[in-house]
């Protein structure tokens, strides 16, 4: 994104619910720049991703420069600039999960959901990603679907979950 040019942006709207949350949050912080990351979360929760227009909007709401929002959007793994699949399947890749078979679990989701690693399926339904340790190593392998943690996802469980995910699409 070229931040030196003023681009003509599409109009950007947020729900009143999100605006309310933002209005309550900003005055609690000693400095508006600190609210950039929480705002990115709120915007992503509503829109699914953080567009250029969203970056401009957040910057102007906080009276900071767009680059200051952009630098965090491009750094943090959880923030994204593009939409992803309707269901986001994140498999822990790190050691304790790997010792319990997370490599196989990940291949299973990829195969069953017809989805490349760190990619979205052609029908736009699923995104399958490897992520690093999500602090539940005692119940490895763990995965997260959207914001929900699933523990002890062995190969059999993974197959069942994948087929349920597909079923839900058919319905």
């Amino acid at each position: 994104m070229d931040l030196t040019k003023t681009v003509q942006l599409e109009e950007f709207f947020l729900s009143t619910n999100t605006i309310d949350k933002i209005d309550k949050l900003v005055p609690r912080y000693p400095d508006t720049r600190s609210v950039a990351l929480p705002l990115c979360h709120l915007v992503q929760e509503e829109k699914g991703y953080i567009s250029k227009a969203a970056i401009e909007w957040i910057a102007s709401r906080l009276e900071i420069e767009p680059i200051q929002v952009y630098e965090i959007v491009t750094f943090y793994p959880m923030l994204r600039e593009k939409p992803i699949g309707k269901k986001h399947i994140k498999i822990c890749r790190t050691l304790s999960c790997a010792l319990n078979g997370s490599q196989e679990v990940c291949s299973t989701f990829q195969k069953e959901l017809n989805c490349g690693l760190n990619q979205t399926s052609d029908d736009g339904e699923f995104t399958v990603e490897f992520v690093e340790c999500i602090a539940s190593c005692g119940t490895a392998p763990v995965i997260q679907i959207d914001d929900k943690l699933h523990q002890s996802v062995t190969l059999d469980v993974a197959k069942k979950m994948a087929s349920e995910l597909k079923q839900n699409v058919l319905q």
Partner: protein, 452 residues
């Protein structure tokens, strides 16, 4: 020997009927210690914490009382308190238990601490992936606010302090305290150089700031309850209190267990508490304090003298489960995350998996860490892909040595130490990889669990 848990912080966690709402917490004696704290002078609470000897549970094991003492109170700038709830060191899942199952305990510990250090504002920096945890904490904070336990004029006093839940977004380096501070300031979490940026002097917004781990802050509540002197009787000198250990990997019963520091050994943890290894398996190695700590190999002897002068001669299984034991054995207890490896693993793949983590998580500020972590990953990944070379062991060692001690933050060591220790302890396995591959002897069984 049957060792039983000593549940201080986890007393109510997992008890039937114990809920996360404030009524349940108060019914179990909750917030009485906050009230007690308000009958004390802030300095008195600080000196109780000093007397307790409690060491930080986040990784470095620095005494909390001493850290609070370094707080620059003369500057006249506002003081901030931050709870490090990033829980990002691989293998660690203890803070999660408190956050999800007993959030008010953390809030009480924090509001006592905030009062003790006279913080103007407090934050809980929680890792972004804990969506549910953040919601639970936010709800708990509103409940506490409605009962005047935080916010304006707490318990009718002159003291006010808000508590904000600030979510991370999937980056390990936000667990490093100065990276965390940058993250709260709304920037990329690039760690700051120490000195001068010791948080207690130049922390959040360049103001004096205390950063403590979830478990450390919960302990403050129990220190106020027991007094520092009584708390110090738990555990051993220099290793006081209880600790929550996260056990994962190749044991029958992985999980979180709370014990008095030094009440048992790593061997007892594995065999008595965690049900031992999987059938037919032998212990190969153990990572004693999260993936950044140095690996310890089964069969090794650890000899030397403890700080108090007593000589020790331990097998891996004899190392005491505390702060000083693993340190004396050449590693560290770090975040209390114990990862067990049995003889079914390919040790090169273990290191390759660890290297991939640190390569992914380097913030990129320092060349040795940014480039070195990627090289380490590249070399070990290549070795696992069937292209190992005999000189790889030396190559890994040389890369790691060029990172160690040459970076802004301890992520450099977190990257270098596993690599160095794996080569040190398993040099033959790393050297033999190439020979075996050349002779087609590195084939794995059908059901082999690959780590990369």
């Amino acid at each position: 020997m049957a060792v039983s848990e000593h549940r201080l912080l986890l007393k109510n966690v997992d008890q039937p009927g114990y809920e996360t709402d404030i009524d349940c917490y108060v019914k179990h004696g909750g917030y009485e210690m906050l009230k007690k704290a308000y009958t004390m002078k802030p300095e008195e609470i600080c000196s109780e914490v000093m007397d307790s000897g409690v060491r930080g549970r986040g990784g470095a094991g620095f005494p909390a009382g001493l850290k609070w003492k370094f707080l620059d109170r003369k500057s006249g700038k506002p003081i901030y308190l931050i709870c490090n709830a990033d829980e990002s060191e691989p293998g660690t899942f203890k803070d999660r238990q408190v956050i999800y199952k007993d959030p008010h305990q953390l809030i009480e510990g924090m509001m006592i601490t905030a009062f003790a250090i006279q913080a103007k504002l407090a934050f809980i920096y929680i890792r972004g992936e804990m969506f549910g945890g953040a919601r639970i904490l936010e709800k708990a904070i509103e409940e506490a606010r409605s009962q005047n336990l935080l916010g304006d004029h707490i318990l009718g006093s002159d003291y006010s302090c808000d508590l904000i839940v600030h979510r991370g977004a999937g980056s390990y380096i936000c667990g490093e305290e100065t990276g965390l501070i940058e993250s709260i300031e709304g920037k990329r979490p690039y760690p700051r150089i120490k000195p001068p940026f010791f948080p207690a002097v130049l922390g959040l917004y360049q103001c004096p700031t205390i950063v403590n781990n979830v478990e450390t802050l919960c302990n403050v509540k129990h220190i106020v309850e027991m007094t520092g002197k009584e708390y110090a009787k738990l555990g051993k000198p220099n290793n006081t209190g209880t600790r929550i250990w996260s056990v994962s990997g190749h044991v029958q019963k992985p999980g979180y267990y709370e014990f008095e520091c030094g009440a048992l050994t790593y061997g007892e943890l594995i065999y008595d508490v965690c049900g031992g290894l999987k059938p037919g398996r032998k212990l190969l190695a153990l990572i004693p304090g999260g993936s950044s700590s140095k690996v310890l190999r089964a069969g090794e002897r650890f000899k030397g003298k403890l700080k108090d002068g007593t000589a020790f001669d331990w097998a891996l299984e004899d190392i005491p489960l505390d702060f000083d034991g693993p340190m004396a054995a050449g590693s560290m207890s770090g975040s209390g995350a114990v990862i067990i490896l049995d003889d079914s693993v390919d040790i090169v793949e273990v290191l390759a998996n660890i290297n991939a983590f640190y390569a992914h998580e380097s913030c990129g500020q320092c060349t040795p860490c940014r480039e070195g972590s990627l090289w380490l990953k590249k070399v070990t990944t290549r070795m696992c892909a069937g292209n190992a070379r005999e000189e790889d062991a030396e190559l890994i060692e040389s890369i790691a040595k060029q990172i160690d001690g040459r970076t802004i933050c301890a992520h450099g060591e977190a990257t270098a130490w596993p690599a160095m220790s794996f080569i040190h302890k398993f040099r033959d396995e790393f050297k033999d990889k190439a020979i075996k591959q050349a002779a087609n002897l590195d084939k794995k069984p059908e059901d082999f669990i690959h780590l990369v």
